[in-house]
């Protein structure tokens, strides 16, 4: 079984512009069931073989969509998420980068009142290798197998998936949760899904500086962990007070340091790689040591 994404996924596209259309084609190619797109004003027409709808609610009613992916530009993206929540889309994946923080505060408040799961924003999406992908990741780096993988970074996810794949370590689900300070599915929640997934045998947790989601994930695994985990933290050498590309990747005062995260994982008995290249070895060791 894969987590959050799989053969059951019926995907709706929110924002079928140039970028959205490009990635939609890749997702369909990969085998994802894409049922349509919401494009206000174009309802009733067809684009790239997909039926278009004026509203998400209409699209859900007509197609039974249970998942959506959002490519809407930043100024309208929070609204697109809220529309998806309102239409009771079960899994909402927001690719968009640059959503205002206060918009996201409103979104997460509504999210907490809903039964939906939000992945992102500012994320590459998620993939169940061999089955379906909801995102923009280059699929060729991923392969099917026992590793559950959660990451705050995009390209780093591809790099590590590639390393794992080349080492013969396929993945159940890879969840790119996004690099923003306020996201729908923070590390501990994503880890919980993988921990509860019977097919996942080992969890790889890729964090980065900023916030304390990794510390909370470590704490969760220390208490409830059913399987081994391996961690990696990007930004160990980053100075305090500087935002490292991601809006969320910043050490503020004493908070959000790599040292604190590494210490938390180690306290939970989770080995921490010092470079991505070490991850496959640690994963193999973890699988062997079960």
């Amino acid at each position: 079984m894969s987590v959050l994404v799989g053969a059951h996924t019926r995907l709706l596209i929110q924002g079928l512009g140039r970028e959205g259309a490009f990635h939609t084609a890749r997702m369909i190619e990969y085998g994802t069931t894409v049922v349509g797109a919401a494009k206000p004003g174009k309802g009733g027409t067809v684009q790239d073989g997909l039926p278009l709808f004026n509203t998400v609610a209409q699209a859900v009613a007509a197609t039974g969509a249970n998942t959506s992916i959002i490519f809407v530009p930043a100024a309208g993206a929070a609204d697109a998420i809220l529309e998806a929540l309102d239409a009771k889309i079960a899994v909402v994946v927001a690719i968009t980068e640059g959503i205002a923080v206060h918009e996201m505060l409103t979104v997460t408040s509504m999210l907490e009142r809903s039964a939906s799961v939000l992945i992102g924003p500012n994320c590459p999406g998620l993939i169940s290798p061999g089955t379906a992908k909801i995102g923009i990741m280059p699929a060729e780096n991923f392969s099917k197998g026992p590793v559950g993988f959660v990451s705050r970074s995009g390209t780093l996810t591809y790099e590590i998936a590639d390393l794992l794949t080349k080492a013969g370590l396929g993945q159940t689900t890879c969840i790119g949760i996004g690099g923003d300070p306020i996201i729908g599915l923070p590390t501990p929640d994503a880890v919980r899904y993988l921990n509860e997934d019977p097919e996942t045998e080992v969890i790889v947790i890729v964090g980065e500086i900023g916030g304390s989601a990794e510390e909370r994930a470590a704490e969760y695994m220390r208490e409830f962990g059913k399987k081994p985990a391996v961690a990696f933290i990007a930004g160990r050498s980053a100075p305090a007070g500087k935002r490292m590309g991601h809006a969320g990747a910043i050490v503020s005062g004493n908070s959000g340091t790599a040292a604190s995260k590494v210490a938390a994982f180690e306290a939970a008995g989770i080995p921490v790689a010092t470079a991505p290249s070490e991850i496959p070895g640690l994963v193999k060791k973890a699988l062997a040591g079960r």
Partner: protein
């Protein structure tokens, strides 16, 4: 984006928060005139986008207009943490009985704003948090509800605000929260919040930092934008579509994806070197972007070697190679380049770079080691 104290105070005053009367000035003569107009004593304050201006001598009390002018002469042109003071805010001095702290910021873990109130005012709040954590009362309003009266009152009780000022401080907390939401603030602070001898409450200082991602809907605040000299390169990079942070080391870094670039910095450090910058060309960078990125890194005189680390996804290896070749052709860089190309079209890229004056490596670790060796 940071606002100056006087700008933040204007925003607060419009929301109903009491502030001491004040004026901006850019010459000693204007400061003198403002002091006379406002009534003495006054406080003469450097307006710079940096903390710690008080300790740096940028805030002075003046009992006479002549003294105000003299302070202005000392402060104008002063260098505070690399920033030159060009504007002064002259303010009628408050009659201070007590100093409080009131601030709001984003609590990432709770995904809420956190309102903080403390009777230990005038100090850096992180210092108070570290040394007297029990002295900060906190409240996390639901963004869809706001800071209700009961919650603001509870904050005052918890912080130990004197009874005579409780309603006033609770009211200011609610006004501050409304400003926080209305301005898309990342942080807003009144520190110190003065209780004056006559019992009234006024904002002693004001700090307001606005979310850069929200500037599209803050047109008025956007006009306050100032770029400090040390931010110019970062701003230029942003305009070109990539993100750049200047660091202290000698190995220039270019990569795609924030996490990968951070890891590249770490790899350089693991190899015994230090990064000169963080530079993420973003997803799907074209030749021209790669070229511009390389030029920015080359412009840094501290850079002794450059490490280009690309894991192709949406970004294509051949586009990256073309950008590099364009720079090699046009500017003939004097520092060595190490490249590691992987992922989409990596082979095509490597083929294009065949014979070019640069070092190619297969893994991130190897490439980092080579770049560090070349920079030493």
């Amino acid at each position: 984006m940071k606002l100056h104290e006087f700008q933040a105070k204007q925003v607060l005053a419009r929301a109903g928060v009491a502030i001491p009367e004040g004026r901006t000035a850019t010459t000693p003569e204007e400061v003198e005139a403002a002091a006379i107009a406002l009534g003495l004593p006054v406080v003469v304050k450097a307006q710079v986008h940096v903390g710690g201006r008080g300790k740096a001598g940028g805030v002075k009390l003046a009992k006479t207009a002549a003294e105000a002018k003299a302070h202005a002469m000392a402060i104008l042109g002063m260098d505070i943490k690399g920033l030159t003071v060009r504007t002064i805010y002259v303010e009628r001095a408050a009659k201070i009985a007590k100093e409080l702290y009131l601030g709001i910021t984003i609590d990432r873990d709770r995904r809420r704003a956190v309102v903080m109130l403390s009777t230990v005012g005038g100090m850096d709040i992180e210092e108070v948090a570290a040394t007297q954590p029990g002295k900060i009362a906190r409240s996390w309003p639901d963004p869809t509800l706001g800071l209700r009266a009961y919650a603001a009152r509870a904050l005052c009780f918890e912080a130990g605000v004197p009874e005579a000022q409780r309603d006033a401080v609770a009211g200011i907390a609610r006004q501050l929260y409304d400003v926080f939401r209305a301005t898309d603030a990342m942080t807003i602070e009144i520190n110190p919040l003065f209780i004056q001898e006559d019992g009234t409450v006024v904002a002693g200082d004001a700090k307001l930092e606005v979310d850069d991602n929200a500037m599209y809907r803050q047109p008025e605040l956007a006009t306050y934008k100032e770029i400090a000299p040390d931010e110019e390169q970062e701003e230029r990079a942003k305009a070109l579509g990539f993100s750049y942070v200047q660091l202290d080391g000698t190995v220039g870094i270019i990569g795609n994806g924030a996490g990968l670039v951070m890891s590249t910095l770490d790899a350089v450090k693991n190899a015994g070197g230090s990064a000169a910058n963080f530079l993420d060309v973003g997803g799907g960078a074209k030749e021209s972007v790669v070229k511009a990125a390389l030029e920015i890194v080359l412009a840094n005189p501290r850079v002794k070697a450059i490490f280009i680390n690309i894991f192709g996804g949406i970004t294509r290896g051949d586009e990256v190679a073309k950008g590099i070749l364009a720079v090699l052709r046009d500017t003939k860089p004097k520092v060595p380049l190490v490249i590691r190309l992987s992922g989409t079209e990596a082979e095509a890229g490597r083929a294009l770079l065949e014979g070019a004056p640069l070092v190619s490596r297969t893994t991130m670790d190897e490439a980092a080691a080579e770049a560090v060796r070349l920079a030493t």
